[in-house]
């Protein structure tokens, strides 16, 4: 029996070595990600690659916005600059509290914000966040927090992508990408400070999608990381403001109120859906994202009320 185990362990060593080689080769095959547990896409949706590379030279900020695409498409640093406020938007697509925490850990000391504005997108509390983790693995640095995310999610796709990212980082190709500022296929332009601008002016989504009507139970993992982020800021005496960005067709989303228990009386909190009335069609370009008109209204409203928070 011991001979069997000896052979099995030897095979596992060979297998692990060839597995790493396999991942590296796999990444070179076009479209190999289709249906596979591997997705290493640099410079993908949301300009995360450019955003994190801008941070080291950006300097200290007054406000740091953290969250999903609702945030990096909802707060324009140029508007804040006119009011004498320097801001940075630290977001990635579908970013959940887990990735928000990791980004705060990585960049808080470089940006040194006085205020952190944290968007509580209800649906991100109910997902494990594989998509934003893959985005961070491919477009941000590889460090102990990359392993933390992988351990928390324990997902084969995340592990495979991390393995490749690690190999790419070791040979120095991980951070070589120069991402385009303007992506015509998506109509996105990156604006310094983390904002991504899109020239769309009208939301034609009127019907509720079946999936959004279903109640989704918040995950303990995400709740814990939200609380960790709050404590992280509190420890550094940074003002923490939680927000719920506005969405169109509000009644389509059954998870709108999951934040009630999270948001204690002591917490500074603005639910824009309750504080502010926007047009479902004229102020958005889809149900989740503000267009330029909506953005201006929300940003101005936020700046006006900042002192009261």
């Amino acid at each position: 029996m011991w001979l069997y185990f000896k052979d099995l362990i030897s095979f596992l060593f060979v297998c692990v070595f060839l597995y790493i080689v396999g991942i590296i080769l796999w990444a070179q095959i076009p479209y190999s990600y289709l249906g596979a547990n591997f997705l290493y896409r640099q410079g993908s949706y949301g300009h995360l690659n450019t955003r994190v590379k801008e941070i080291p030279n950006y300097g200290e900020v007054d406000i740091l916005f953290v969250g999903s695409s609702r945030v990096y498409r909802g707060f324009d640093p140029r508007i804040f600059e006119k009011h004498g406020l320097k801001v940075f938007v630290l977001g990635s697509s579908s970013q959940t509290p887990l990735q928000s925490y990791v980004l705060l850990e990585r960049y808080m000391d470089k940006l040194k914000p006085k205020t952190v504005v944290y968007d509580l997108l209800p649906s991100t509390f109910a997902i494990t966040g594989v998509e934003p983790t893959l985005d961070l693995l491919a477009n941000d640095q590889i460090d102990k927090y990359s392993f933390q995310m992988a351990l928390e999610q324990n997902d084969l796709m995340v592990w495979n992508t991390l393995l490749y990212a690690l190999a790419a980082d070791l040979v120095g190709v991980h951070d070589k990408l120069k991402e385009r500022q303007y992506k015509p296929e998506e109509g996105d332009t990156y604006i310094s400070g983390g904002y991504v601008h899109k020239n769309l002016s009208f939301n034609s989504t009127a019907n509720c999608e079946e999936d959004s009507l279903k109640w989704k139970e918040p995950l303990q993992l995400q709740t814990e990381y939200f609380i960790k982020s709050m404590n992280f800021c509190a420890k550094r005496s940074i003002r923490f403001i939680a927000i719920n960005m506005p969405i169109a067709n509000y009644e389509c989303y059954s998870n709108n109120n999951i934040l009630r228990d999270l948001v204690k009386d002591s917490l500074n909190y603005i639910d824009f859906n309750k504080e502010f009335i926007l047009s479902d069609s004229l102020d958005y370009y889809d149900n989740y994202h503000l267009n330029n008109a909506g953005l201006k209204k929300i940003d101005s409203f936020f700046i006006q009320n900042l002192q009261n928070l």
């Binding site: 069997y4 060979v14 597995y19 396999g22 289709l34 249906g35 591997f38 084969l156 495979n160």
Partner: protein, 485 residues
């Protein structure tokens, strides 16, 4: 608990440790451990149905003992019928009650009578068709005096519920498996290595071939009204590989696990898609069920003895019952009937035992004539699988009509991702079939493949399989198709 989950991995590691390190010297303790583990394994899915296995076990154990106490043929026959009625009764209630009720009501309606239709919300217990047939083989063999009745309830219970093959076979004969519970098991290095390779091949067949093919087969069958002829043909081909990879994969894992525990289970698949005619296909596909029907139904009905009419009748009975065994739906019956029709010309011309050897053994490629026969048999099989997969007979007929009436070429319904997936799945199937072809002289694709090559080359090949398994493992852990039977 599914074989390809972490739950099963942890379960098996603990079981393996206890089995070989703690209870190694006592087969009674090993049998108790197998019994407990098997009940945990089955109860993981739904503990309530453990009672069915327990009832089936107790009934057949008691009847076996009673048969052993008497030589009176009439009494033995009575006891056998009691076993058949009890086992088939449980199976019919859970699997076929609603089917018979619905069809009886339809029949009455057809003759102008209105009947109140009773249907029950019955959950089909996993693997009920498999363990029912396995226990039946015991009482029939005891009745035929081919087997001494078991006097050890633990051994017998462990035989009925043996977890590697409990829910999807192979359906073992009591005369083959039961004595193994009474024999000292030793850990054999070569058996363990070969068993591990068989598990690896089974996982590859299931996770890579069956699940990838299944994704596309489901997409095409679920949207068959929208698809053109090319897609419908591809859908049927993908389903053929889904069902093969799924079921053969399960069998390989089950046999491999048993070998790690010192048990020998029968071969259930022998490269069926390299068959040169339908008769050969049925000697290579789900062997444990085909031979069960041969031994316990076909031969008692007279088999191939008697006149031509009797032969034809028995063949049709076997295929239709086999179809019905798979599920309570007319589609399965029609699938069985279609296979009987395929088989008929071979039977009538006495050519049904023509191809009993390995196709082109020792040759790199098949002869053109063999290749054409293989393709012809595969086409017939794929056509029959359409009935097996379709939701209803109407769906199957519409699907087949679509194949012959709609256009060829790239289907506008499929997007770029679907087309990419089709291409990748096609490549994986080619890789799978090549491995099976070059390994066709073994009992499974990997057994004799590269066996004379250097260890590093063999291990590299196995590593490729591990790589593909981990690359395509699906998180939603699709269950094995044959669990539902």
């Amino acid at each position: 608990m599914l074989f390809h989950t972490l739950d099963f991995f942890y379960f098996f590691v603990i079981f393996f440790g206890l089995y070989w390190f703690i209870f190694k010297h006592n087969i009674q303790f090993q049998n108790v451990l197998i019994l407990i583990a098997s009940y945990v394994f089955y109860g993981w899915w739904d503990w309530r149905f453990l009672s069915l296995i327990a009832i089936s076990t107790l009934v057949d154990f008691t009847l076996g003992l009673q048969m052993g106490k008497t030589d009176r043929k009439a009494r033995r026959l009575l006891l056998l019928w009691f076993s058949i009625i009890a086992n088939i009764g449980i199976l019919c209630f859970f699997k076929y009650f609603n089917f018979f009720s619905e069809n009886f009501a339809l029949l009455l309606k057809a003759v102008g009578l209105n009947a109140h239709q009773t249907t029950l919300n019955i959950i089909l217990p996993v693997g009920i068709s498999f363990y029912t047939f396995q226990t039946l083989s015991y009482t029939i063999d005891v009745y035929r005096k081919k087997l001494e009745p078991s006097k050890n309830l633990v051994q017998f219970s462990a035989f009925v519920s043996f977890f590697p093959q409990l829910v999807a076979g192979p359906i073992e004969r009591a005369s083959h498996l039961l004595p193994q519970f009474n024999r000292k098991r030793t850990f054999d290095y070569h058996e363990a290595v070969d068993g591990s390779k068989q598990i690896l091949w089974g996982l590859f067949s299931k996770i890579v071939i069956a699940d990838k093919s299944g994704e596309l087969a489901n997409l095409i069958f679920d949207n068959s009204n929208e698809m053109n002829s090319s897609s419908l043909i591809l859908g049927a081909i993908f389903f053929s590989f889904q069902i093969y990879g799924d079921f053969a994969g399960y069998s390989h894992i089950a046999i491999g696990i048993s070998r790690l525990l010192g048990f020998d289970l029968m071969q259930n698949f022998a490269f069926p898609y390299f068959s040169r005619d339908i008769a050969e296909f049925w000697r290579r596909w789900h062997i444990s069920l085909s031979t069960w029907f041969r031994d316990y139904l076909y031969i008692p009905l007279g088999g191939s003895k008697g006149g031509l009419g009797q032969k034809v009748r028995n063949t049709f009975i076997i295929f239709i019952v086999s179809g019905f065994w798979h599920g309570a739906n007319w589609t399965f019956i029609l699938w069985g009937l279609l296979n009987a029709i395929y088989f008929l010309p071979l039977l009538l011309t006495n050519k049904n035992r023509r191809n009993t050897d390995i196709v082109q053994a020792k040759s790199f490629l098949p002869r053109l004539s063999d290749f054409l026969k293989i393709i012809g048999t595969f086409v017939l099989t794929v056509f029959a699988w359409i009935f097996f997969r379709a939701e209803s007979i109407t769906h199957a007929i519409e699907y087949i009509a679509g194949i012959f009436t709609r256009g060829l070429g790239i289907d506008p319904f499929l997007n770029t991702t679907d087309l990419g997936n089709i291409f990748i799945t096609f490549l994986l199937i080619v890789f799978f079939l090549s491995s099976e072809w070059f390994g066709r002289e073994g009992k499974y694709g990997l057994q004799k493949l590269l066996v004379n090559q250097k260890r590093f080359l063999r291990w590299s090949y196995y590593s490729v399989l591990v790589f593909l398994i981990l690359m395509y493992y699906q998180f939603d852990r699709s269950p094995f198709i044959y669990f539902q039977f």
